[in-house]
Symmetry: C2
Subunit: 317 residues, 2 copies
Amino acid sequence: MGQVVVGVDLGGTNLRTALVSADGDILDKRKEDTRAADGWKKVVARLVDNITRQREIAVQRGLHVMAVGVGAPGVIQIDKGIVVKSPNFPDWNHLPLRDELEKALRIPVSIENDANAAALGEQWRGAGRGIDSMILLTLGTGVGGGIIVNSKIWQGADGMAGEIGHMTLIPDGRPCGCGNTGCLEMYASARGIVQSYREALGMTEATQASEVTSATIYEAARSGDAVALWVMKDMGRLLGIGIANLINIFNPQMIVLGGGVKDAWDLFIGAMHEEIMRRAFQVPAERTKIVPSLLGDDAGMIGAAAGALQKIQPREG
Amino acid sequence: MGQVVVGVDLGGTNLRTALVSADGDILDKRKEDTRAADGWKKVVARLVDNITRQREIAVQRGLHVMAVGVGAPGVIQIDKGIVVKSPNFPDWNHLPLRDELEKALRIPVSIENDANAAALGEQWRGAGRGIDSMILLTLGTGVGGGIIVNSKIWQGADGMAGEIGHMTLIPDGRPCGCGNTGCLEMYASARGIVQSYREALGMTEATQASEVTSATIYEAARSGDAVALWVMKDMGRLLGIGIANLINIFNPQMIVLGGGVKDAWDLFIGAMHEEIMRRAFQVPAERTKIVPSLLGDDAGMIGAAAGALQKIQPREG
């Protein structure tokens, strides 16, 4: 009987589950609303329901689900499978997600930070195949990070490494939800881009609140709107400072950019490269391939599945 | 016959060599002036002379030198043993130091960046014993960095990782020799401290050029000089920004601070801790031990010796 795992990408908006083969092929996938506002008990029940549905599908196909891997946003203590804190799930405080799921599902569950899961996915089946040092940045509502060295996620001493979005770029810059000021996330995320546009136009939070989104800014920039173009270049410049730091610190083979802001690739990539060449050492700067993610929304599920497989088939390293 | 290695710390000022046992004990050490201005040929000849003298001492003690490890400042391509560029050795451009030494000595030679060597030394026999994730910062004339993950130096794709001194702290800050502006090195090094003091007093390069050194500034601060005290606090604050970034990115077990500026520990450590707690995530910030180096000037030789031993007795990783 074929052995498979379930990979879960638990986002603030969407809850995605996939049946994934031992080779990383997606055999089935589904998506529904997370409805985080319902509170943690209902979200966990929804997770259990979706995973159970995937197990039923596996049985119908003569397959057996060995384990479940979950990528969840926020600060995760990997070794304990606890979601310490998650901006998208305000009532999740030190939630023992792994234990809750194992109790309900009665198979091994691994929990991973969502950006780490996406990095693993891209390395296994996406832009980073064959690459053993890679940094993934997800430029979405916020900025997540996943670091791969020696072909493995660098988890850190508490499983909390990779918070690249909270690297300080501008010491006295914008206040960030994490308590710091001037974090990369406050400039290179969808939210940061919207804020930059509002600031450039002298708009307050109250004015036209519903009208400006990152998508409308990309559209305006592509129609030649000078302010929107400047905002996207400035975002590229600031992202470039952060990436130059990563290049000088890690000298990685590759940096993968994922998340919704990737849609604006053409609008920021020039300014980003210029800033990197200005700030990073030449040899590592020229060698680092900076590429868009290949797997898109599937990266997290495939990477979470990789985490589940590693849990049941530990590899030497 | 006992097997030993020679560890070399090639600094811009001092050339240190040690006979090191397989357990990391220093059996003999010597120091002489590097005299970098004599040009690379004479410096390499001086290296060969010093290493040869250590081999003679080994023979006298019934020991056999198996290999040589060298820690050298600047940008090193580890795999090729080339010193790409070194601020302390202006005429060293892509110098094949390993090949030059192997040709003269006829035993295996490994070349390592000096800060990486010091990090290895501290992990093997110093502050980082038993620690598997550690970052060493050498706060000297400049700022060097060595990163240990999974108990090994992270070399990067070109052997050029760990240039932590060239993390941008202040995007439009002081111009750095590396071509960037606002590097950590321009604030948290002896040179940076002197520059801060001069700026605070409105001094130009020309005035009292010979009178102000980092040591006189520490002395003034300890005598209650308000400007010197402020300069050291500000240095701590800026170092704290850089370390907070490292904590958020790596979540390491330990950060070791070495180099001459460590002598001013009491003058900057408070401001540094304050800034870290303000900027880094709480769990990793509270867990990271920040400690002074234990081995001092011996760290580089011991670490270089560790590199030589790894070259002749490769360990699984």
